[in-house]
Amino acid sequence: MRVQLALFGFVFTLTGAFGSTDRSMAELFHKYDQVMLHKKVELVDEVFSQKFLKENGGKAEFVSKVKGLPPVTNKSLLPVPKVRWKKGESDKLFLARLRDLNPRNKAKKEQHGTEFIVVEEAGKLKVDGTLSDGE
């Protein structure tokens, strides 16, 4: 618990200068990795939009997919996810880029990352899916 608090403190310190959306985004993706890497499935509702869960067969099916993921072996890659984000035309739509744990192309470090669709749901940021890469 103390470690968790320290971790959140670190995340907030890192992003504090960049405004509340930065903080919310960092917190969201910290929780995202808690779900996807550490299988803290109790956070699923806090991380994913209801629409996302519905589109993915419902919460129970999504949780079973999370539980089926292989365990994380390289813990040095954790715990603070690096997130960059941009706001869409609507105030409630964002694109956030999260660094990949296993870069697909080691020669182009700047391009590593998954692009997430983030929406505002009931005043909180939630992951709504991803978007295929391409330029």
Binding site: N105, S132, G134, E135
Partner: protein, 248 residues
């Protein structure tokens, strides 16, 4: 008389339908006030297949909305990066309605294969480049040749290709792909999706005979796109042959 006119109209719409292998719908897209590049369609020889990674129900307008956010603040994307968008149901599902929609016009260089992917040019492409037919600029402004489109005698893959995206997610679930399918239940394109891709490709080749290659996103750079669709490229090419086309 009324009957005659309606019969003639029906007949003409039927013949129009008979000529087309697939109906392509059009929607209105919002565009950013930013630079883009244009080309003669003869420059295009390759159709590149993608998956959107989003749910299969995502509309072309929604994908456009997301693509408008891409790029840098100083140089955002002009509009949706793909030239065609295929909505089709997953196996065992009934929705969304299968439909092909036009995306970025063919004369405008797309944004899909990866800006760092460069390909060799054939004689026709080289001539068009040398004649200064590929130009970049902003709406209402001066369009000029952009040397950044070339590297070591090769040209950006986006200039010689168009992007055809299948809306949906055909890659396995992972931290990087939370919309993906469960590994115990892999997702593949349906026979109808394959058929629609073949029809669209063939329809393009009929109109633009220089389009003779079908490739996939990960051919150009390291990406999971287009997931399992990649394994069906051979089938799409074979199916297009049934419609009288030839693709490599």
């Amino acid at each position: 008389m009324k009957l005659l006119i309606s019969s003639l109209l029906a007949l003409s719409s039927f013949s129009a339908f008979a000529q087309d292998l697939i109906q392509v719908e059009r929607v209105e897209y919002k565009r950013n006030d930013t630079s883009f590049c244009t080309r003669p369609v003869e420059m295009v020889d390759t159709i590149v297949l993608h998956h959107s990674e989003t749910p299969s129900t995502s509309t072309p307008e929604f994908i456009n909305q997301l693509h408008l956010v891409r790029g840098t603040p100083a140089d955002p994307w002009y509009m949706i990066g793909y030239s065609y968008v295929l909505n089709a149901p997953y196996p065992g599902e009934t929705g969304p309605r299968a439909r092909m929609t036009e995306g970025r016009p063919l004369e405008i260089v797309g944004a899909h294969a990866g800006s760092s992917a460069f390909v060799p040019m054939d004689e026709v492409q080289l001539r068009l480049w040398d004649e200064g037919k590929i130009v970049c600029g902003k709406e209402g402004g001066l369009f000029k040749v952009d040397p950044a489109q070339l590297r070591d005698g090769k040209i950006k893959a986006n200039v010689t290709s168009i992007g055809l995206v299948v809306v949906g997610n055909y890659a396995p679930f992972s931290r990087e792909n939370p919309n993906g399918y469960s590994p115990s239940n892999p997702r593949y394109p349906t026979a109808n999706t394959i058929d629609m891709l073949a029809r669209m490709s063939c329809q393009l080749q009929r109109k633009y005979p220089r389009m003779r290659y079908i490739k996939w996103h990960s051919y150009y750079h390291a990406t999971t796109c287009p997931g399992n669709i990649k394994d069906f490229i051979g089938k799409i090419r074979a199916k297009s042959k049934e419609y009288g086309c030839e693709f490599n």
